[in-house]
Amino acid sequence: MSKDPIILEDRKSFVLLNEKKQNNTIDCEKDSVSGAVSQRACVYCGARVVLNPVTDAVHLIHGPIGCSSYTWDIRGSLSSDEENYRNSYSTDLQEENIIFGGEKKLEAAIDEIVETLSPKVIFVYATCVVGVIGDDLVGVSKKKSKEHNIKVITVQSSGFAGNKKDGYKAACHALLSLMGEKKKSDEKDFVINYLGDFNLAGEAWIIKKYLKEIGVKTNVVMTGDSTCDQIENAGNSQYNIVQCAGSMTYLAKQMQMKYNIPFEQVSFFGVTDTANSIEKIALLSGDEAIMEKAKALIAREVDKTNAILDQFMKRLRGKKVAIYVGGGFKAISLIKQFRDIGIESVIVGTQTGKKEEYKKIRDLTDEGTIILDDTNPSELEYFIKQTGADILVGGVKERPLAYKLGLAFIDHNHERKHPLCGFVGAVNFIKEVDLTVNSPVWTFINEQGGEGYEQKELYQLERQSL
């Protein structure tokens, strides 16, 4: 067997070298190649990460135990009050349920939840196996809603039926079915919903604080630190602003149809994006006072933040970053954020990026940048060595890969411990980059291994390690 192809034949069209003159494109939004060690997750995973931060709902996973136990307290979404969402509820299907159907067990589990907790809302997540055995989740949910006079909402998230982004959609449907009618309101203030922030490390709170300062009211954040009541009331806002585009644009579009609420894309990662987004929201309000206050806030924060960033930037000059994250939008905002602090992106990849997003990535990055869709550890290793990247940005599975390669690492996924958004986040971000890039620990790899960093040698090495 030949060891030659670092990039699988079937994957060649998913890898792109940014050459500005040639108008080449990348393949994306397709199923992974079987056997390719994809880093992608499933539909259920997508639904779970989006819905999980609804703090006072019970999230019941209908399936065998694994699906629920891996997602127990899956992301560091903070709550200002209820914390029920952090528990793991499962029907723990057994063999006899697979053979005879799991509906009875699901019914019993719902009864048992109601007996001890009396929640307003139970989300019931479908996993692969219940999709195959054909349990009628909607039927059970309807029946139990009536019986207990609560909302039991089915999340159609059987894992095989697509990938993570289909799970986002399933979550959006669940959220929509929770929303009530639009009320006639005499609200004079500018009230918005903030979609696509999961309050990791309290990030939604930071943004809400900015909005409050300029006089914009936030109705509900979806779904970070949200409650069922707030979501029910979501139709009564004047505007939706969307941060995580991958997961929430669909919801924004649906809400536009259902409630006639327009939406606008924002990003609060990095100084430039944060300032632009605040300005944009102020403009949307059409309110002079808000615009004035926004200007003042931006002027104050930008100066303050840049002064801090400047101190760190000296220590980071010339470093190169490889980005491999879930969605295209996050990748785009990371490219900009790194550029803000003087670091160029030499590799940009996503798990579920869309055509338009890849086009944007191509426009944003320099000639020679490697662009990857649904990549795997071997490709990442290959291109990291080829480009001489100093930092990898990724999720859980990429961290040890980076470390083994002697590379600094930034977690820009569920597990971040410090808020990375807003002006505060921009400072945290550069501190984190500095901390990991300039850690003394890397010098030991250089000294001992000696083989790690010579570009030329690397070309020979990479093949041996495959």
């Binding site: 067997m1 060891k3 670092i6 699988l8 199923d31 992974s32 079987s34 056997g35 390719a36 880093q39 997750a41 499933c42 995973c45 019941l60 135990i65 694994g66 699906c67 629920s68 136990s69 891996y70 127990w72 914390e83 528990n87 793991s88 509820y89 499962s90 029907t91 723990d92 349920n97 697979i98 699901l106 019993a108 009864d111 048992e112 939840i113 007996e115 996993t127 692969c128 196996v129 195959v132 095989f160 039926a161 697509g162 990938n163 550890p377 859980v396 599975k397 961290r399 040890p400 890969l401 470390y403 083994k404 390669l405 002697g406 790899i445 291994g449 083989e451 790690g452 390690s465 495959l466």
Partner: protein
């Protein structure tokens, strides 16, 4: 977070809250990583594989590679045959492992893929090996998955070539840390015992940093060694839940005599392990180095026995580990108030109950198999304990009730050290005592009145 846990315990038959187990494929994946140059392959949707890799990555903090058949709706309707065939060919041509160990998932089990047939009909490179285990997640737990894959190693690879067995002993360490496997190998070496240990994840999931990424680090049992297990004189299976299936398979097929022992956690279980090995070699004397270790352990047990004696402890996690742990804490004079595993198995309860009876603890201590952590928390609310021993998930209860937690078992997602320092053997027992005693004293120092706050303890 656990404000919802009520003191009143209501029987639940359908709902699991905060599980004390997870599903089979992850155990199979972990076992497969214990074969040299093996790439685990998960036959099902990519979500499962992604979760299993993520979880193992978090626990071991090392890159965990595994491929998947990437099921889509089509595979659910027409079966996963083409996905697996294609997947295997891709894996061998790109990642070039010596062996691929396939585990099924809920999905492929439910649609009923015939793996023997699929693998046979796939055109594979001649010098390469594919083994597989059935690991439906709706029975057993991750421990069952480990057991099934370990059994698959011998059922598909072991051979008997020689007329009379060698003097080699097969050792199956069970679902323990790579550091534990190293410690077990150390003991075997000190006894001068030719052995084959499988699976062996030491050097694989705690590999040294060499400044490069190696998909297949040096560790792991080799395919040749696995083949030779049929010629060994005996098999020592440590922990019945994770290891006896493979040992019995070797007995059934090649008459290799099985010895099923406890995981050697604690002084008694370690003694037993060593004595069994001695009985196999016909030796009578324990090597000097192990004598010294045992003596030191004993010395420390005596030095600090007043710290832990009479303390109430709740233990939860995987059956093999906590059966041995329960024995150890009883030997330390502690009271194993609650012993809980998520893995099903009446035998577990029976074994622990016997220990309770032998020590007159049956009226005050409770054991439950197939239970969740909500029940454990409720029990603790009804009668508190002084210390909790279990995996990372115990931290919620520990915080809610202000009980020190000693992290032992799988998974440990929030601390380091577990993959480098053993819990088994005399060295491991010493470490456990250090951890237990330190945890108790740390809490005491934190909450005791000023006048009781002293330099020496």
């Amino acid at each position: 977070m656990l404000d919802y846990t009520t003191k009143e315990i209501k029987e639940r038959s359908a709902l699991v809250v905060n599980p004390a187990k997870t599903c089979q494929p992850i155990g199979a994946m972990y076992a497969a990583l214990g074969i040299n140059k093996c790439l685990p392959h998960s036959h099902g949707s990519q979500g499962c594989c992604s979760y299993h890799r993520m979880h193992l990555t978090r626990h071991y903090r090392d890159p965990i590679a595994a491929s998947t058949s990437s099921f889509t709706e089509g595979a659910c309707v027409f079966g996963g045959k083409s996905n697996l065939s294609k997947g295997l060919q891709t894996v061998f041509s790109v990642y070039n492992p010596d062996i691929v160990a396939v585990n099924t998932t809920c999905l492929s089990e439910t649609i009923g893929d015939d793996l023997t047939e699929i693998i046979k009909s796939t055109d594979l490179p001649e010098d390469k090996v594919v083994i597989y285990a059935n690991t439906p997640s709706y029975t057993g737990s991750h421990v069952t998955g480990f057991s099934n894959m370990t059994k698959a190693m011998v059922s598909s690879l072991a051979e008997k070539v020689l007329e009379t067995p060698t003097t080699t002993v097969n050792v199956i360490p069970g679902y323990v840390e790579p550091s534990d496997m190293t410690e077990i190998k150390k003991m075997l070496k000190l006894l001068d015992m030719p052995s084959i240990m499988f699976p062996d994840t030491s050097g694989v999931v705690n590999a040294p940093n060499k400044g490069k990424y190696e998909m297949y680090p040096e560790g792991g049992v080799t395919i040749d060694e696995l083949k030779a297990t049929g010629d060994s004189v005996a098999t020592v299976a440590l922990g019945s839940f994770a290891s006896e299936a493979a040992a019995f398979e070797l007995e059934k097929k090649f008459d290799v005599e099985p010895y099923v022992l406890k995981t050697p956690i604690g002084i008694k279980a370690t003694d037993e392990f060593l004595m069994t090995l001695l009985s196999l070699t016909g030796d009578v004397f324990i090597p000097e180095e192990l004598e010294v270790e045992r003596g030191q352990l004993l010395d420390v047990m005596i030095d600090v026995h007043h710290h832990y004696h009479g303390k109430k402890v709740a233990i939860f996690g995987d059956p093999d580990i906590i059966i041995a742990l329960t024995e150890f804490v009883i030997d330390l004079g502690m009271i194993p108030k609650y012993v809980i595993t998520g893995t099903p198995g009446k035998r577990f309860e029976r074994e622990i109950n016997e220990m309770f009876k032998a020590h007159g603890l049956e009226d005050e201590c409770i054991v439950k198999a197939e239970e969740d952590l909500m029940t454990l928390h409720q029990l603790i609310k009804n009668e508190p304990v002084d210390i909790l021993i279990g995996n990372t998930y115990g931290k919620y209860i520990a915080r809610a009730e202000d009980i020190p937690l000693v992290r032992v078992g799988f998974p440990i997602l929030d601390r380091v050290g577990h993959s480098y320092f053993p819990t088994v053997g005399y060295k491991g027992a010493l470490r456990l005592i250090e951890k237990i005693s330190t945890a108790i004293l740390d809490k005491y120092d934190r909450i005791c009145p000023e006048e009781d706050f002293e330099l020496t303890m």
